[in-house]
């Protein structure tokens, strides 16, 4: 029981991080129909920026948090402005390769800026870990969970309540029609890119105190986040959350009841099963035709 609870805690902690990263994938796909393979690199930038701003520059945590997210958002906006928008005939595969190129580029930049070593970061708060029925719950896990839910709720409200959010949804449904009714579609794409990059940045900020961060941390997290987004249903915010948590918990249970070496396989077997039996994802409704 004690172990089981520990697996769940561990799974939820990792899962919440996957969820935030998945959210970035999902919201970009939802508004532009694009899969950004550089998403993991935004996680890396977020994590390392936080460490630099918080520990290096000694900014207070909230400021460092905001700064790190802002840096990733700017990186995302630059990716859209200088690379994605420059493509004249945007065939999806060409755009995907551009994001792959961007991920290599960003990793290179990360290596130059932060070096090849790993960096650690303290937790957001100094509380001692909680002991629940013998299982340990880290305060950082609570932070991650709360902030993840906050991000999803924020996104939900943005899409439902704000004019810009609704305009973005309109672009997702039909760029042409949105353009005709006067929505600046180019700006919307730019905004979608920087928002999804910011999600990646938040994921990085959340994970930095939990683990060690280095310039090459992005790919693995990006893949997991992408997997989570697929499981939950691309384009669905709540799907991303469900997918992320499910993936995290499944991995932890895989460690507990199978073998730790097979836990990555477990994630991808789940992905295949979802594809076979429910291709639109657990919560996905949109017919997935692009790419």
């Amino acid at each position: 029981m004690q172990e089981f609870l520990q697996y769940i805690f561990s799974g939820i902690t990792n899962g919440a991080v996957y969820a935030v990263i998945a959210l970035g994938f999902s919201m970009l796909y939802g508004s532009t129909g694009l899969i950004n393979f550089a998403q993991g690199e935004f996680v890396m930038i977020g994590a390392l920026s936080l460490i630099s701003l918080w520990k290096g520059v000694n900014l207070p945590l909230p400021l460092a948090f905001a700064g790190a997210v802002a840096i990733t958002a700017i990186a995302g906006a630059m990716l859209e402005r200088f690379a994605i928008r420059s493509v004249k005939k945007p065939h999806p595969i060409v755009l995907v390769i551009i994001t792959v190129g961007a991920s290599i580029l960003l990793r290179g930049v990360g290596m130059l800026v932060w070096g090849k070593d790993s960096h650690g970061s303290p937790s957001f708060s100094d509380h001692a870990p909680y002991d629940i029925l013998g299982a340990t719950l880290l305060p950082q896990s609570l932070w991650i969970l709360v902030l993840t839910l906050g991000v999803v709720l924020g996104l939900h409200i943005f899409h439902k309540r704000f004019l810009t959010g609704r305009a973005m949804l309109a672009c997702a449904i039909s760029t042409k029609a949105a353009g005709i009714v006067g929505i600046p579609t180019e700006k919307m794409v730019l905004l979608a890119f920087s928002m999804s990059a910011a999600m990646g940045g938040i994921g990085g900020v959340l994970i930095a105190p939990l683990s060690m961060s280095s310039f090459d941390m992005g790919m693995n997290l990006g893949l997991k986040g992408f997997c989570a987004a697929m499981i939950g249903g691309l384009g669905s915010s709540w799907g991303a959350v469900v997918g992320g948590l499910l993936l995290g918990v499944l991995e932890a249970l895989g460690v507990g009841f199978l073998s730790s070496g097979l836990k990555d396989a477990a994630a991808f077997v789940l992905l295949l099963l979802i594809l076979y039996f429910r291709p639109s994802g657990l919560l996905g409704t949109a017919s997935v035709q692009r790419f």
Partner: protein, 317 residues
């Protein structure tokens, strides 16, 4: 004709080159060409992406590696086994996914690729696990020993040329037309009586088999394999070769494979900046000539081939 030129080129290079480094590089280009060619058939003609081709590459390499190193089979016996196993795996992956349109195959292959990677690492009693599988013998055919780097170069390129030739033939046949039709309009292709799902499964299997052959050649060339050579990044690299070279063109695959093999070798002079330069080059190529290097170069030729002058270049690949 083009084959003759290429063949002459390879022969000249083979006999002209004395540096084992250049010979080895050319051999790797041949192996990568096989990989890119197979994936090009899938991406360029069936309009599907595979993000797990490294797993098929690895399957080919590991099957022959395990059979020859552990069980002392003849490589020539192991080759058909590798091909059959890879074909079966590809068939099982593709069957449920290719019925659906969209990018499901890409996602499925991504999952398959990761699972393959985990299996290569975890089944250590057979695969040698993370530290790799040693003792894969070199190839021999009667009195001809392919332990000699030059002979191996010729072998790899003979296989690559044969595959290019066969694929070229296939593309210009009934099946190839059907594939291009699927790529242009799946609805219309289906209304022409083309079994789109089945054909896509077939081309996927073909593409996986070519990757397996490349894996076979790689394993016996390096005589050592480890999971790191078949991870997700390798899958991405193969996709990149196809796109950079140009989709829907066997020659584009060749060009893409060459560029992507030589580029990292030449970029080492940038040391710390290597990744940045590499990423920039990829992005720039895609922005400037999204149809790929080969198409980009042949644009003018294409314009001349169709009578009217104002044709947008290349198929919308």
């Amino acid at each position: 004709m083009r084959y003759l030129i290429l063949m002459a080129g390879v022969l000249a290079a083979g006999f002209g080159l004395s540096s084992p480094y250049q010979i080895q590089l050319l051999t790797f280009i041949g192996i990568n060409s096989l990989l890119a060619l197979g994936l090009n058939m899938l991406m360029g003609y069936a309009g599907q992406i595979s993000l797990g081709h490294a797993a098929f590459f690895g399957l080919g390499a590991y099957v022959t590696g395990v059979l020859t190193a552990h069980f002392h089979w003849s490589p020539w016996l192991a080759l058909p086994v590798a091909i059959l196993l890879t074909a079966a795996a590809a068939f099982l992956i593709a069957l449920p996914l290719l019925e659906l349109s969209g990018f499901y195959l890409g996602m499925g292959t991504l999952g398959f690729g990761m699972i393959g990677y985990v299996v290569f690492r975890q089944w250590s009693s057979l695969t040698g696990g993370d530290s790799g599988l040693v003792g894969i013998p070199s190839l021999e055919l009667g009195p001809l020993s392919f332990a000699d780097a030059k002979n191996y170069l010729f072998l790899v390129w003979a296989v690559a040329l044969l595959c290019i030739f066969l694929c070229d033939r296939l593309i210009h046949s009934r099946i190839g037309r059907a594939l291009r039709a699927i790529h242009d309009s799946e609805r219309a292709a289906s209304s022409m009586g083309i079994d789109t799902g089945r054909l896509k499964v077939h081309i996927f299997v073909l593409s996986a088999v070519m990757a397996a052959i490349a894996g076979f050649l790689y394993a016996h060339l390096v005589s050592f394999i480890s999971p790191g050579s078949f991870d997700f990044l390798v899958s991405i690299r193969i996709v990149t070769m196809v796109v950079i070279g140009g989709m829907a063109s066997v020659w584009g695959a060749l060009l893409g494979a060459s560029v992507m093999t030589i580029l990292p070798e030449t970029l080492t002079v940038f040391t710390e900046y290597e990744m940045i330069v590499y990423g920039l080059i990829m992005i720039t190529i895609m922005i400037v000539i999204p149809q790929g290097l080969f198409r980009g170069i042949l644009d003018i030729y294409e314009r001349a081939r169709f009578r009217t002058g104002s044709i947008p270049a290349g198929p919308q690949a």
